[in-house]
Structures are given as structure tokens and as C-alpha cells.
């Protein structure tokens, strides 16, 4: 029987070799580039990167935007996932389509759509002014707030779907048992539904954070060059500055952040899973 299981394992081989050649190998070469100067092993590039206060401000902005995007997406996604988990038939299809369809619309298209909404004489400002809430248009485009709202919008499905999946397969008897034991709806949510949905929350946050920390197109279109993020800095190093070592260093830093997010979240998911 073990022989058979091993042979079935061979089915993963094409996928694994594809990943190795297309993903792991170039990444490894990139990593190598960031710790080599003239063929010598050195951390000098990293030291240089971290001693530049501009770079640090970009790093901090990238982390902050990713965190806030994840938080905003979570706040919007959780109630949506609850409603979806309770929906049946037609309404469930409507929700699923509403989640999946926007993914097929390119980010570029979406970003231009937001421009119509957010710009100085855009829909939002016109509405605010005609309602008398503000006198002069508020600058919304090219701000971090607009970036976070836009990013949370694009990544929303990656937050909703894992939470929805966990809530959907939760035994509906559990909240009922809690109710029959005298638990109010709030107590039920805090002590049963929410803790049991944590694996979905962790997965959703890991997806969204990883996507948000490495996003390039969305910040380029919404905030432009003035407020750089790590991905934009990487692109600039490679494309304009022709500084491959710097690009490789920033890429490696991004990669390390992504790896630690994945490891932490899978560790957290495992722990949560073991509790159940």
C-alpha cells in the first residue's frame, strides 16, 4: 500500500517541477544577487538599504498600507461572509457571482473607475458639495486613504471566501446549543461563532496581507510616483536606475515578509485547528 501511495505522490511531480523552474530558481538567483558584490558574499546592500531613511519610510508605508488594507477588508468581509453562509439558492449564487466577477475585471479598469469617483470634480465630491457637507472639493485621489479603500476593494474576495468557507461548514447546532444554554446572540458570536471562524480569518488575512504588501499596479495608478511602496521601488531600481543589486535586495525583503506571513499564519491555523 505504501508503494501505491508513493506512486500517487508522483502525480505532484509536474506541478513541482514547474514551480521549481519558473518560480523557485529565478527567485533563488535574485536572492543570491542581493548578497553578492563582485562575486563576494556581503550584506552591504542590506546595510545600505536600511541606513537610508527614505527607504525606511517606504518600508513603513508599505507595511502600514498592507495592514490597514487587511483590517478594512476584514471589517467589510466578515459580515458579508456571515450573510453568505446563511444564504441559500438564488441569493447565494448572487453573492458568489458578486465576489468572483470583479476579479475578472482588470485592476487597471477598476482604478480608472475609481478615478471618476474620487477625483476633484468626481462623483463623490460633487455629491458632498451639493449636500453642503463641504464647500470646496476634498482631495481624495493620490492619498493613502484612497489607496487603502481601493486595495481593500480589489482584495475583498480573498478575505470573504475563506471566512465564508469556514462559516459555511460550521455545525449550525453549535450556536443553537449555546442559545439553549442561555447565551445571548452577542455572547454566542463572541464565544462560539467567532472563535470557530478564526482559521478562515487567519487565511483571509494572510492572503490579503501578502497581496497588499506586494501590490504594484494599484498604488501606481491611485497614488502615483510621489508615494512609493516597496514594489514600486523595486520596479524603479530595475527599470530606471538599472540597479539590479538594490532591486534584488528589496525583492528579497518583500519575499522574507511574505514568507514570514505565510509561516505565521499556517502556524496559527494549525494551532487553531488543533484546538478543534
Amino acid at each position: 500500500m505504501t508503494g501505491r501511495a508513493e506512486r500517487i505522490g508522483l502525480l505532484a511531480l509536474p506541478g513541482l517541477s514547474f514551480l521549481a523552474v519558473i518560480y523557485a530558481l529565478p527567485l533563488f538567483m535574485l536572492l543570491l544577487k542581493s548578497v553578492q558584490i563582485d562575486g563576494q558574499f556581503s550584506f552591504a546592500e542590506y546595510v545600505a538599504f536600511f541606513s537610508d531613511s527614505y527607504n525606511l519610510s517606504v518600508l513603513w508605508r508599505t507595511l502600514r498600507v498592507a495592514l490597514l488594507t487587511t483590517g478594512l477588508a476584514l471589517i467589510i468581509a466578515y459580515p458579508t461572509a456571515i450573510i453568505m453562509a446563511r444564504a441559500k439558492g438564488f441569493w447565494l449564487s448572487v453573492f458568489l457571482v458578486a465576489m468572483v466577477l470583479p476579479m475578472s475585471v482588470g485592476v487597471v479598469v477598476k482604478a480608472f473607475a475609481w478615478t471618476i469617483l474620487f477625483r476633484t470634480r468626481g462623483v463623490l465630491n460633487d455629491t458632498l458639495m451639493s449636500l453642503g457637507i463641504t464647500d470646496a472639493p476634498i482631495r481624495m485621489l493620490f492619498t493613502e486613504t484612497a489607496l487603502i479603500i481601493g486595495a481593500a476593494n480589489v482584495f475583498l474576495p480573498f478575505m470573504v471566501l475563506p471566512i465564508y468557507a469556514v462559516l459555511r461548514q460550521m455545525d449550525s447546532r453549535l450556536p443553537e446549543a449555546a442559545a439553549s444554554l442561555g447565551a445571548t446572540p452577542v455572547f454566542r458570536f463572541m464565544n462560539v461563532t467567532f472563535p470557530l471562524s478564526l482559521p478562515g480569518v487567519v487565511a483571509g488575512c494572510a492572503f490579503t496581507f501578502s497581496l497588499a504588501i506586494s501590490m504594484y499596479v494599484i498604488p501606481s495608478l491611485i497614488v502615483g510616483e510621489r508615494q512609493q511602496t516597496l514594489s514600486m521601488l523595486t520596479a524603479r531600481s530595475f527599470l530606471y536606475l538599472r540597479n539590479e543589486a538594490l532591486g534584488a535586495t528589496i525583492s528579497s525583503i518583500l519575499l522574507l515578509i511574505a514568507i514570514s506571513v505565510v509561516l505565521t499564519s499556517s502556524w496559527a491555523a494549525n494551532r487553531l485547528g488543533a484546538r478543534q
Binding site: 442559545a179 439553549s180 447565551a183 445571548t184 484546538r275
Partner: protein
């Protein structure tokens, strides 16, 4: 946990379900359901799958809202009270233990929901766990428990809050036969000691007979009969109840003659007599409990060819060859290997022991 309240059995109305109706998407599951339970009674809801037992239980617990009718508990209308304000505990078929909590945390849940601090729950939790002999497992994860242990935890969790009523939906169905019997005895003793009013849902008639003071036999959203186990067995109100509770010899036939309280019925195996007066020509079903059938001539006598003789230990069952829909069954005490399939034997029983129902009622 409260001191035992006086137990009042019989037709009192501690729990009073009146004219309750429920439909799912236009399909009526029950209508005009009346169901009354006395304080301290242990009652079973017995019936085939899909007859509405769980639905009735959920309406009583407040987990499903009734379309019509009223539910009163101890004289107080609870029809529209939400589940968490009823103080009615439910033990679910799957036990529904909280997988992210330990055994002790599961048991403490009801106390914590009532605002007790985590640290204050200790003694009561220990007491409740001792009650179900699960003290050694307090810190375990519930996933690491066997079915029987999970059931005990579910019972402890339900009892710790001193419920005014305990509802159990097929609490034993996930257990193997041997364990089921042990748990039935244990749980019955436990509930009796605490004078708990409890309703068991089951579709196992032995379980219903064993654990309850009274049994409500349900069929298609109706209660066909609500009586003590012995009454139910000796005087079933309908052919359905007779079939559902215990085994019986069962024949279909037609009344050919009927005098004062005695009818003659023609069956496929010969004429038999039964108590009661019917219009000649009426289609009837007659039944006799198998231990009342003897292997000698009596007031009713049939010659039967055996299809099987099953030695079951404390009794031996003789199955006669019968047409579809009929059943010829005789039980003789002890292990008896005098009979073999193909033998022709005499089945005899008294008119007074004969149950008779108009077919289709």
C-alpha cells in the same frame, strides 16, 4: 442545582403545548398538535423518521418558531420567548459540544453565559462532571472523547444550568447497543434523582419503553397515543401503534359476522374471532402479542407452517409462513430447539387477547 421539586405525574400541565402548527415552505409538518407533560415526568416521543419529533422538540426549545398555537411552561406563555430566555436545555443527537473548548469549558458554558466569572464556575463544574463520572477528563479536548464520553459531557453541560426542562434528541443513537443500554439506565437514574422533567426523542421503541414514564407515539405530525409503556403495549390505540411498539402476529381480514361485542373474521389462514362489533364486510387488521400466542389450540386456532425458528436465548421466536402484509409470530419462553423450518404447528390464542382495528385507521 436546585432542590428537587415535587413530582407530579399524569395529566397535569407543566409543559403545555396547545394547537401548535408548523409548515416548511408550504408543506405542513404538524397541525393542531396538543402535548402535555407533568412536572418530573420522563416522556418519550416515539415515531418513524420524518414524523416531526425533532420539529416539536425545537419548537418547545425555541429553536424553531411555530406558525400557530401556544407553548406554556409552568403556566407561563413562552411561545415567543427566544431560546436563550427559556432555560430549556437541549442534548442534540450529535451532542454539539464546542470543539474549541475543553470538557470543563464546555460544561461551564451555560454558567458563563449567565454572567458567572470563569473562576467561580470551578466547584459547580466539578460537581457536574462528577455526576456523569467524567472528572478525570476535565482538561481534555472534546475531540479526544469517545461517543459515550461526549454524551456524558453533553448531559453535564445541559444539567449544570438547572434547566426547567431537558430535551434530548436521540441522545443514544450514536452509541453501540451495549453502551446505549448502560447509558439509558444511568441517565434515567440521574434524571429521576434530580426530579428533572425530560423529553426524549427516539425511534427506538425499546429505548422509549425503558427510559420513560409515558410515551407519545407520533405519526405524520400527529400524536396517535400518549400512554404508559405497558398501556401502549397491551392496548395500542391503532394498528400503527401496535406495529410500532413491540412485535405482534398481524393479519388482515374481512368481518363476515358480528354479534354483541364479538366478530368473526375471515383471514387467509382461516376464521378467527375478535372482540368488538363491526358492520359485516368491514376490512380489519387483527393483532396478538407474540407471547400471548401458544403452540396449542385455544379460542382462536390456526395451523401454521414455520418459515423460521429463532432461538434468542431467553425466548424462542416461531415465524409462520405468511402473505405480504401479514405476520404470524409466536414466542415460547426459553431456548427451545423442538421446532424446525417447514414444521406445521398450531398457533392458539384467546379472543380477549385479540386486538382489532378497522383497516386504514
Amino acid at each position: 442545582m436546585a432542590p428537587p421539586a415535587p413530582r407530579d405525574m399524569g395529566d397535569s400541565k407543566y409543559l403545555d403545548v396547545t394547537a401548535v402548527g408548523k409548515a416548511f415552505k408550504g408543506t405542513s409538518v404538524m397541525s393542531g398538535m396538543d402535548f402535555r407533560v407533568g412536572r418530573g415526568e420522563l416522556v418519550s416521543l416515539l415515531g418513524p423518521s420524518g414524523c416531526g419529533k425533532t420539529t416539536l422538540l425545537r419548537i418547545i426549545a425555541g429553536l424553531t418558531t411555530a406558525d400557530s398555537g401556544e407553548v406554556l411552561l409552568d403556566g407561563r406563555a413562552i411561545t415567543s420567548a427566544p431560546a436563550h430566555k427559556r432555560n430549556i436545555s437541549v442534548v442534540f443527537q450529535s451532542y454539539a459540544l464546542f470543539p474549541h473548548l475543553t470538557v470543563a469549558e464546555n460544561v461551564a458554558f451555560g454558567l458563563r453565559a449567565r454572567g458567572h466569572a470563569k473562576t467561580d464556575c470551578g466547584p459547580k463544574v466539578a460537581e457536574a462532571l462528577a455526576l456523569v463520572r467524567m472528572s478525570d477528563f476535565a482538561e481534555r479536548k472534546v475531540a479526544a472523547l469517545s461517543g459515550g464520553q461526549q454524551q456524558r459531557v453533553a448531559v453535564a453541560r445541559a444539567l449544570i444550568v438547572d434547566p426547567v426542562l431537558l430535551l434530548l434528541d436521540e441522545p443514544f443513537s450514536a452509541l453501540d447497543r451495549k453502551l446505549r443500554e448502560t447509558m439509558q439506565v444511568e441517565l434515567k437514574t440521574l434524571l429521576r434523582d434530580r426530579n428533572m422533567t425530560a423529553i426524549f426523542v427516539t425511534h427506538d421503541q425499546d429505548e422509549a419503553m425503558g427510559v420513560s414514564d409515558r410515551i407519545a407515539v407520533m405519526n405524520a405530525g400527529q400524536i396517535e397515543q400518549f400512554a404508559t409503556p405497558s398501556e401502549l403495549y397491551a392496548r395500542p390505540a391503532s394498528a400503527f401503534v401496535m406495529d410500532f411498539v413491540g412485535l405482534s402476529t398481524r393479519l388482515n381480514g374481512e368481518v363476515i359476522e358480528s354479534t354483541e361485542n364479538r366478530s368473526t373474521i375471515r383471514s387467509a389462514y382461516g376464521t378467527v374471532h375478535a372482540p368488538g362489533t363491526f358492520v359485516p364486510g368491514t376490512e380489519v387488521t387483527i393483532g396478538v402479542r407474540p407471547e400471548l400466542v401458544k403452540t396449542r389450540a385455544a379460542e382462536n386456532t390456526l395451523r401454521v407452517t414455520l418459515a423460521d425458528a429463532m432461538v434468542l436465548g431467553s425466548k424462542t421466536q416461531l415465524h409462520g409462513r405468511a402473505e405480504a402484509g401479514d405476520c404470524l409470530l409466536c414466542e415460547v419462553p426459553g431456548m427451545n430447539s423442538d421446532y424446525a423450518p417447514g414444521d406445521t404447528v398450531t398457533f392458539g390464542w384467546d379472543v380477549a387477547d385479540t386486538l382489532v382495528y378497522e383497516t386504514g385507521t
